[in-house]
C-alpha cells in the first residue's frame, strides 16, 4: 500500500484525468466514474487534508472497486482508463 506516496490532491487529479471523474465541490469532493453511460463507482476525496491514512486509502480504493494494489497502480501511473474499464468489466454488472 503506497498511501504515504500520495495525498488527497493526487487522488483527485488522478480521478479527474484518468477516470474522467467530474467532481462536485461541497464539504468534500464527490464524483462518479461512468462506464457505458452508467454510474459505476462513486469516490469521496476529503478536502483540506494532505496525508491519506491506510484505512482511508483502502476505502477510496474500495469505492473505485479496486484493490489497494490496483489503486497504487492507478495513482502511480501504470493503470490507465482502458485498463480500469477492463477491471470493471470483470465485475458482472457491466
Amino acid at each position: 500500500m503506497k498511501n504515504t506516496a500520495f495525498d488527497a490532491n493526487d487522488v483527485k487529479h488522478c480521478c479527474e484525468n484518468k477516470l474522467r471523474v467530474p467532481f462536485r465541490e461541497g464539504k468534500e469532493f464527490n464524483g462518479w466514474v461512468t462506464i457505458n453511460n452508467k454510474k459505476f463507482a462513486r469516490i469521496t476525496v476529503p478536502k483540506g487534508r494532505k496525508d491519506i491514512f491506510q484505512k482511508t486509502y483502502k476505502s477510496m480504493a474500495n469505492q473505485l472497486r479496486l484493490t489497494t494494489e490496483q489503486f497504487d497502480d492507478l495513482l502511480g501511473c501504470p493503470l490507465n482508463w482502458d485498463q480500469y474499464v477492463e477491471i470493471a468489466k470483470k465485475i458482472p454488472q457491466i
Binding site: E28, R42, Q93
Partner: protein, 148 residues
C-alpha cells in the same frame, strides 16, 4: 572514656530507639531486603510493560460499533450500522451497508462527515436511474430508510 548511663543520654538527645536486629530477608526497618524485593520489582516492571504494550495496541486497533439514528437534514427511518476505527492519528467511520466513509480528528467529527456523505449519496441516487445494479440496490436500501 566516660561511660554515660542511658538515662543521662536520654536527657541530652531524647529517647534512644534501639536499632532493630534485622530478621531473615528484612532490612533494619523490618521491610523486605532489596535482594528479596528485586525479583518482585522486576516481575512487576515486566507486567507493567506488557500492559502498556497491550493498551497501545488496543488504542491503535480499537474498533467501535455505532448505530446511526439521525442525519443533519433528512429523516432516518431505520438505524444504520457504522464502524468507527482509528486511522493514523485520526478516525474513520464507515457504514456497513453503503460504500461511504467519513474521517476526522475524533470519532464525532468522523461520524459527522459520514452523515453528510450519506445524505449526499442519497441525493445523488435519487437523481436519475443511470446506475449499475449494485447502486440501484443501494438506492432502494436508502430509499427505505431515509426521507426528506
Amino acid at each position: 572514656m566516660v561511660q554515660t548511663s542511658p538515662a543521662v543520654l536520654e536527657s541530652h538527645v531524647g529517647r534512644v530507639i534501639p536499632l532493630r536486629r534485622p530478621g531473615i530477608g528484612q532490612n533494619m526497618f523490618g521491610a523486605p531486603s532489596s535482594s528479596e524485593t528485586e525479583p518482585i520489582r522486576t516481575n512487576l516492571e515486566m507486567r507493567i510493560s506488557v500492559l502498556e504494550t497491550e493498551i497501545r495496541r488496543l488504542k491503535k486497533e480499537s474498533v467501535g460499533y455505532v448505530r446511526l439514528n439521525s442525519l443533519p437534514n433528512k429523516m432516518l427511518r431505520g438505524a444504520l450500522d457504522v464502524v468507527v476505527e482509528t486511522d493514523g492519528n485520526g478516525y474513520i467511520a464507515r457504514t456497513v451497508d453503503v460504500p461511504t466513509y467519513g474521517i476526522g480528528d475524533d470519532p464525532i467529527e468522523a461520524i459527522g462527515m459520514l452523515k453528510r456523505e450519506i445524505e449526499s449519496l442519497y441525493d445523488d441516487l435519487m437523481n436519475g436511474d443511470d446506475f449499475t445494479e449494485d447502486w440501484l440496490k443501494i438506492k432502494r436500501f436508502l430509499a427505505e430508510r431515509i426521507s426528506n
